[in-house]
Symmetry: C2
Subunit: 477 residues, 2 copies
């Protein structure tokens, strides 16, 4: 074996697109936090009581209870023998048993068989029903693909669009780094459009149009725009007027509209309401090509680990849908457990059903608590010196701006000042966050993303730890 | 909106790699079968009693019962409240409850939370234990990634390897078309090496070496070789001598060895035994870079719809593993339900455990039946005029050769003769198969892939339907 041949599997010889991809949500800080967690399990004292994972929207890891009805149905579908056992009747309400029997009756082979590549028809029917109720417009099950989380949907749409490094997709800055990472992997270009922090992270249409033009002037072929609503990491809820302007822009510029709407249940601001882009497009009678995504990972259910979701392809040409079908068929099918879960998220228990009261109580319990936590986190952050934070109108994150550390960043060389801050915050308090540089931000500004997910009775203590750290860090800076 | 901009989302404007990809297992014949199924549900008489899906290794859709212990533990993990309920004790054996409690105690946030990107440590530990018992060599959990089925693993390894259209991977012909499809999507090259039908689909090392040289002469950079053992669609089990020769070839030629071992539990031939490439590599003391894959979809468990599996990266450079970690972190994590299932597949109930007897009976019941069905299918096929079929030593498929139809193919133009045959077989009998052209075959030969999965009491009738069709089809040809 010659040395040349041996070395051909070194890191440097790998696909450059992979080497170039970045994903800060699970980057160096998250990796260090995991090590700390292991050290603490082995009894080491790191000076704080626990690791608080505010780096990722993962509610159940912070003890959010799953929705009981969903879990009952899932358990029955995994072990359908229970449906026939008398003893199980005391453990599962009648509507959960009926629902599980419906899924098991209509999903050939149950949770252990590959389904149709787009997802089992009964699950797509339930999703379609929920979309129709939400929007007041019909939904064709043929336009629906169930997916292993929204990440899979993002991958599908970008994979069919990106042909080479000239093909570009507009992505908000700050953005959820799945978009930049996926575009890197596919060898395409990301064109950022800045959200306006001063106006509560709203999207400015004139600036957006300018960004499209600039990209074209640079030889890019702008194929699509991603809108994240409610915003991640920025927490804003888009107003209806801006949504309509985005649709018109897509019509005028020939852009596919990729609507990341995974936080659609997470709206806390009293004056705000979530309208899906599907509703906006249909209300306007627009023919714009729209991909609308949803996920079981967020909302009040937070079933991240189950990997479920859907994408609805609105006004897509038949040939494009055939290509998407082929892509989904290569992956065989999304996991059935996740398919059943998204079906229930979109078609939950109804008033009068045995499980309705508990379901409704769990739902509002979690959403009301999230709304309170959103306020508490923002208020605490705004009390810190040099920190300003917009209202968290929706989603699961606050994205405060840090001022007064800009010089620190440049002096230290490569590690951005916000990443230094987040690492120091972890070291001192066990709180895990993600630096703004992982999402993109206006040059010269610094931010941190934190979730609002610590349990409500721990938020005050968490924010107090943070405040204490902040004071001493800024004094030393 | 100008016409040019409007047309930019037509099929023809999509990523060429996507347009070029093919995946016959769920191609035109499978799509037609699905339509037939819907017509029959609506009461239409198509002249046969049922659709028999022999196109895909999907045991539970053909009524294979899932392993009880696995399903009990999964149900408890989905609805862990049951662990605390007295009434549930009658429904779940003690070892299933203990196992679920172990997983729930060690997977932070349970089945609803994102785990570490490589999979929860407890699940990787159970997988590692199973690998060690299988091979008699240590397994480091750090080398393990849990995956959503083996497809995800194939995607990871090819994604890091393929840089451009010159980069090539050796794939057996006939092959499982996931490889050709994924290489198309990534814009890489597939170099086929022919398996030798006359010697029971064995791999001939001299021919393999010749193929590598020819590819290099054509300017290809051959980066890896895929071995599918037991073979799909060909059903052979590789002998130890050939395995060692493949390892030596990889060493000499600097190739990464991709071992698709998802059928490792499915060996029926009495004189054959499955040795993992991990065992072979370690026994030889080789430093070859080996990726070994397994899945919950096959074996005697057949949990296809759950999407679970693992890949073990043996002798991989640290930097390469870091890139794989990044890729897996962009996908957040494999679904937890699937993680738990692969953990149980690799660490099943032990002798003395309450569930052992049932587990063992279910396991051997299915495997013994598969062995009998493998024989029945091959014998029936070999009785057909112009059909010859090798022994199904392992896996879930027979791949008979058809003779006497070669002229039919060329006369008809584009549709290959084997695809015509399979379509006619579906139309006449409801049996769904895949033409050999979907897997690749020696030029001038024709084959069909069928699973051996119809329920044992239906195999004779299925093969009789096929025989009747075959006779009249060949007469008309």
């Amino acid at each position: 074996m010659t040395e040349t041949q041996k070395s051909s599997f070194e890191e440097s010889t790998l696909n450059r697109n992979v080497l170039n991809a970045e994903y800060a949500v699970r980057g160096a800080i998250a990796v260090k936090a995991q090590k700390y967690g292991e050290q603490m399990r082995l009894g080491e004292d790191l000076g704080f009581a626990s690791i608080i994972q505010c780096n990722i929207g993962n509610p159940q890891i912070l003890h959010q209870k799953p929705v009981t009805f969903f879990r009952q149905v899932l358990a029955l579908c995994d072990y359908p023998d229970l449906l026939e056992k008398e003893e199980a009747k005391a453990l599962f309400p009648a509507d959960a048993r009926a629902r599980a029997a419906e899924y098991m009756g209509r999903i050939s082979g149950g949770t252990g068989a590959y389904s149709e590549s787009k997802g089992a028809l009964v699950c797509r029917e339930h999703v379609a029903k929920g979309i129709e109720e939400r929007d007041g417009h019909p939904c064709d099950t043929d336009d629906l693909w169930l997916t292993d989380g929204a990440s899979a949907a993002v991958n599908y749409i970008l994979q069919i669009l990106i042909r080479d490094e000239k093909d570009a997709v507009l992505v908000p800055i700050p953005q959820y780094p799945l978009y930049s990472a996926t575009l890197s992997l596919l060898g395409g270009a990301m064109v950022g459009y800045y959200l306006d922090e001063k106006s509560g992270w709203q999207c400015t249409i004139d600036k957006l149009r300018e960004t499209v033009q600039q990209a074209r002037d640079q030889g890019k072929c702008v194929r699509a725009i991603t809108v994240i609503n409610p915003g991640n990491p920025t927490g804003q809820v888009m107003d209806r007027e801006t949504q309509e302007a985005v649709v018109r822009l897509c019509e005028e510029e020939g852009l596919v509209l990729i609507a990341d709407e995974v936080y659609q249940c997470n709206v806390y601001a009293e004056k705000k309401r979530f309208d899906s882009f599907k509703k906006v497009v249909r209300d306007m009678g627009s023919k714009v090509h729209l991909l609308s995504m949803n996920s079981i990972s967020k909302g009040f259910f937070g079933e991240c680990g189950r990997r479920g979701g859907y994408m609805e392809c609105v006004n897509f040409p038949e040939g494009v849908k055939q290509q998407l079908y082929k892509l989904s068929s290569i992956k065989l099918c999304p996991n059935i457990n996740g398919q059943i879960c998204i079906a229930m998220v979109m078609n939950p228990p109804r008033e009068g059903d045995e499980s309705y009261e508990l379901y409704d109580r769990e739902k509002h319990g979690i959403l009301d608590s999230l709304a309170r936590r959103a306020k508490m986190v923002v208020q605490s952050l705004n009390k810190l010196d040099g920190v300003s934070c917009n209202e968290v109108e929706g989603a699961l994150y606050a994205f405060p701006r840090l001022e007064g550390l800009e010089s620190k960043g440049s002096a230290e060389g490569d590690v951005p000042a916000d990443a230094q801050y987040c690492m120091a915050l972890l070291d001192a308090t066990g709180i895990v966050t993600v630096p703004g540089s992982g999402f993109g931000q206006e040059p010269g500004t610094l931010h941190v993303r934190t979730t609002i997910l610590p349990p409500e009775n721990e938020v005050a203590e968490t924010m107090a730890r943070w405040a204490k750290f902040h004071q001493s860090y800024m004094q030393a800076a």
